[in-house]
Symmetry: D4
Subunit: 215 residues, 8 copies
């Protein structure tokens, strides 16, 4: 754990065995392991290596959380909304959600509100406005965080996703568009769901600490 952010084990490029070994070590050291970009083989190896742990796997997000039975997750009095433009944003958004849940934030998911269907964004305005922070994942042209940031007063973090093909594909247009946004938002790298979630978590914690301090 650094900055209250659980360190993640990036399974991609590691064998199931290597991943499981790192997960066991993390559970031993800090009570919990967060694994990202994990496929089924990684998940099985982790489950086998930690038979007593509580395992929480999100296959679409490709995340695994393994916690010692006695591990106590923090609990923050703060809410983060995570909006996505479409189904291809699910992995990055789910990675952000996993980190946020482990940091103790309440997470509200708002899915498939792509800019091509503005009505769907407007349906969720209350949820977006009531959150303490908003993470908006979007691929292709990456316009969704700009649209959301024009509608809410909360801080918005843009999370560009590597969808799209051809010129400006793989998230290039999306990350440039968020950096150039004509609204106020800050950005993380393409597919950096872990970073977007952790940054939102740091803000949520700052807000929750302020709430608690005065409570």
């Amino acid at each position: 754990t650094r900055r209250g952010v659980p360190e993640a084990i990036l399974a991609e490029g590691k064998t199931p065995d290597e991943t499981a070994t790192l997960a066991v070590a993390a559970v031993e050291t800090s009570g919990r392991a967060l694994v990202t970009r994990a496929d089924t083989a990684h998940a099985e190896a982790v489950a086998d290596a930690l038979p007593d742990a509580d395992i929480d796997r999100d296959a679409r997000a490709k995340t695994i959380v393994a916690a010692a039975p006695e591990f106590e997750r923090p609990d923050l009095d703060a809410t983060v909304a995570i909006a996505t433009g479409g189904t291809s944003d699910a992995e990055a958004a789910g990675e952000a959600a996993a980190v946020l849940r482990e940091m103790g934030a309440d997470v509200e998911r708002i899915e498939d509100v792509g800019v091509a269907h503005l009505g769907r964004v407007l349906d969720h305005l209350d949820t977006l406005r009531e959150a303490d922070v908003v993470v908006v994942a979007a691929g292709r042209e990456g316009a969704l965080p700009t649209v959301v940031a024009g509608l809410v007063d909360t801080p918005v973090i843009g999370l560009p996703v590597s969808t799209g093909y051809g010129h400006g594909g793989d998230g290039e247009a999306a990350v440039l568009g968020m950096l150039q946004s004509c609204t106020v938002l800050s950005t993380v790298n393409v597919d950096a769901g872990y970073i977007a979630g952790a940054q939102a978590g740091l803000i949520a914690r700052a807000v929750a600490d302020a709430r608690d301090a005065d409570a």
Copy 2:
């Protein structure tokens, strides 16, 4: 005139004298001259060189149209809407408007409906939906054509504008975003107001010809 599109004299990089000489030649050959990216000095030289012509200058668009008194502009029974995100899009949009007027289309301008203020786009939905073609000029992240194309059934042409600074500035993010758009639109190059207008004019003419044929 090629493809019914008036050829334009690009004043930028030419002296006022050179520009005026080309304008005189165009008026003599085709009854009319369209000058783009013209500053005040170009405008004065053209006016001096063509004392009998009807001169129509749009200083914000940096366009000049000089027509022989007897010149008869075509008149198309078709409407093109041109929307802009903000004041910096005025030059590119105005260039498109000038070409379209010379091709005979009716032009509807919708200004400053940037995505950061969605309400303003929604206020103009009827105009956008009733047009035969829509040109949408936008700089920075260039999200506006995507938002508009999600709201209308007419063909939309994206016109990226070279606003924005830093990474992806000078229209780079905007043109990539339009190519990556998650809606249906086609795109022209950064600041290519003349091309966007001419392409919209070719479509407007196809529609007007269809109207006339059956009339």
Copy 3:
């Protein structure tokens, strides 16, 4: 269906099963499914899942159309010509053709008229000039849309294709060349056959509606 454009299911990156499930849902909702970038396994899964549907597969275009027997395709009184430079442009062009047929346009294919053999373009001038819109697919240096747009009065949509290797390969030179074209055309992204077809379809529909209105 959005904007009268049939939504497409992008099979690439989906399993045959996932693809078939989405196709079944589309047929149930809208009477028809359009699947793009589908290989043989996707095609078989779709056929198995929709035993009663009319299936129309174009293996070279990698498209599948599955329609309920009672589905009635729209019929537009408008023609779109689709020209290609060479055999490697067949997939993108075929994707455009599939969307256009589903939108009801009449499609004229003109194949292998690459700029290296100008005579072949000239042989097809009448077809190109009589169409209401022209889509021109080209890879490598992408010069063909420019050559065609210099020869016709109809609107031309450039469709860059990801052929070519080395510097500027994968369609980069082609898309830049179309954006820089010294003629009037608008462009879609590299390999974006679906978008080129849909944009041409929106224009064809505008023309057909004008024809019908006055009929």
Copy 4:
């Protein structure tokens, strides 16, 4: 004012007169004008046009704030630290500071703590750790936000600055480095001091609101 963020008048590319006219309008509408990227001529024109206003000019930051005598600035119970690597970061950092002061946050400046002299960063650890949010401006290789984010528990916003020459110059290396940072931070565009400040202000306000709510 949108999202409680004072809109700024970007003087760069506007004449002193145009700038002054916009500033007068802003003071009339919202009680205050914030002008960025203003040189001496802009400052004089604004001062002349608003003889009764309180004018606050920061020449190094190139900002001007003009407020009606009766204008009441908000006051947030929250602190933002702004650190810079060197003197060339002063303009971007000062722009951030100006927005933050107008949003009512307490601003702590920490200057010239470039990574080449680590000791200087360490000297300011307490200030950095006690702030509610930290903005870190850095050019060249842009390593400073990464170093700071490794030392504090507060949210860090990276602000890349367009120093540096040659390959990766003009802030390119800096913005890429911040997006790739091996710590947790979010980023804004090169030289986007206004955006960094506004985003930090939105976070500061969320924290201050939480403090106030419970007070």
Copy 5:
């Protein structure tokens, strides 16, 4: 003189005085000076410094040739055709022509045969086919060398020109398009008229030497 190619003095970035001094030295050493990218001030300084020389200035090409009265230019029995797409290609093409004349080749100029007007290329087919080598200068999308190379049996050298604005402007699309050409051609850098001319001259000399050897 290296490889029989007269070395050129690149005036751009040099003062008129520096340029004149280098020109005097070149005339003294090799009987002749070739100056490229020279404006009027450079031309005057060279003329003043070499009162006895034969001066040949091409203002549009921005070249100056100064030769001692007794200097004997080589004479090659070989012809190079130089075609341009439009007036903005005149400088680069003229630079190529100047080098070629100094190497002794016969130069045939074919101007303004841009691909948007195919007929004009076809009018000059005989000249293009009878040349020993063809240099084709083109900006924007740079399609002209590809079209020409599809029509002739002679070697074609593509000379991309830095016209065009926006994405892929400044000759970027043109040079990539020539490298990706679906015909056979070789390319030089953007605006490298001197190199294109010299390479064509080396080929012309090889051909002329073969002619002479057997004569």
Copy 6:
């Protein structure tokens, strides 16, 4: 055959069967087939499909030439030298050699004369100087064509090769270096051995024709 250059069948991306079918057609039409980027499976399919043809396969170059027994190759009285920097340049250089042999030129191969061992280039100076044209293939930093062009009076064609890893790898540094060369040379795209060979062949034929004309 276009421009006397045998058209090549690019086997890469085609099945052995498709390749063989095209080869049979080429042999029937023009007496000969040239296949590039062919692996063993392609070679076997071609051999099986053309049992009577003379088959000439260069496995390192990945080329196959299949000729009808009665086919008569042209014979040019001209020599092309092909130099390579190292073994990774063998495929591109071999592709060039295959085209040249089919065009009838005499080919001289000079291998592994990379700039890191200047002595080796100097050992082959006579061969390089006696050739009518020189093709120089080089990857990594691509300096070899520049070094060779500084040593010979013949035209040099640079052939960049996609070796190298990291920043500027895959031939990017090589192609840029050749375009920027401080000597006189023209360039083809990365790995475009076929184009380099064909362009050298066109020059060789021009020289041979001049020799013959006078004979």
Copy 7:
């Protein structure tokens, strides 16, 4: 051996057999073979082909050194420190270490001192300061060489590593950051461990020679 640097056989892209053949030749010619980017199959083939050689394989670095039993490695009185930011830097750093050991330098490894944990760098200050040269391998934003170069008086060579994903990934941000570093360092290409090691070895040898000369 060139410049006292053992030439390396790059196994990547070669079969085990080809690699073993080259290794045998190298041992015969120079007493020793250094193989880089070798996997297990390459290692086994080399071991089988050289049954009498002393084999030293570093699986993490993917290097193999095979030396004839009588081979005498040079021994330099000079030390090179090699620092890494994290485990993904191990391959590049290990490649550098292998070359350095073969050149005879003493190598000190300092691992996982990433800038996100500054304390760990400071713990190793003495080792870094006492070395004659320092190689610093780092991926992601590549800030570590800058931090180290600000702390030591020895020459530092930056070795960017191809970790990182998204925009600026694959070592792009790292190499640009090192070129832009606000401290004094020189750089090699991404993943160029062999070059970094060899350059450090040339410096170490210069120092060792100076030590010896005076001894």
Copy 8:
């Protein structure tokens, strides 16, 4: 002074007055000021502000050194050779020379040994081989450091220079070529003469210290 390297005042972008003020401060603090990228106005302001200092200005290198009369420059028993390809490399090379002289190294200049004239490099082999370190400045394709590194046993530092125009110009091809070099060298950024000199100086000092230690 950091790392024994005199800090430099970058005059470019500073007024003469600001530059002079910083120079006075540097002389007071450390006995000496090194100013880079200084024009005549900067030089005059520095001279006026420091009437008692010893001023050493190199107009071509655009450097100024101002030293207090009592200042004692270090003296290293080590030599650095600095080679340039052409006159345009003089500024970057001169900047490197100025830093090296201030660090006390003996500097040997070798000018205009561009790769297009190999003989000139070979003439200077002894000087290059006898130096302790070599800095090689080159623009355009940047091949010279590669050629030199293939000829000497000393460490070579490549210094890319921003000459060249068109694609890969402004030093881009040069820096990529040095990173991709097929010999052993390390690189600094484009035009970073100060960094190249300082890095060479650190190596020279390491060698000189080794010489002294044993003396």
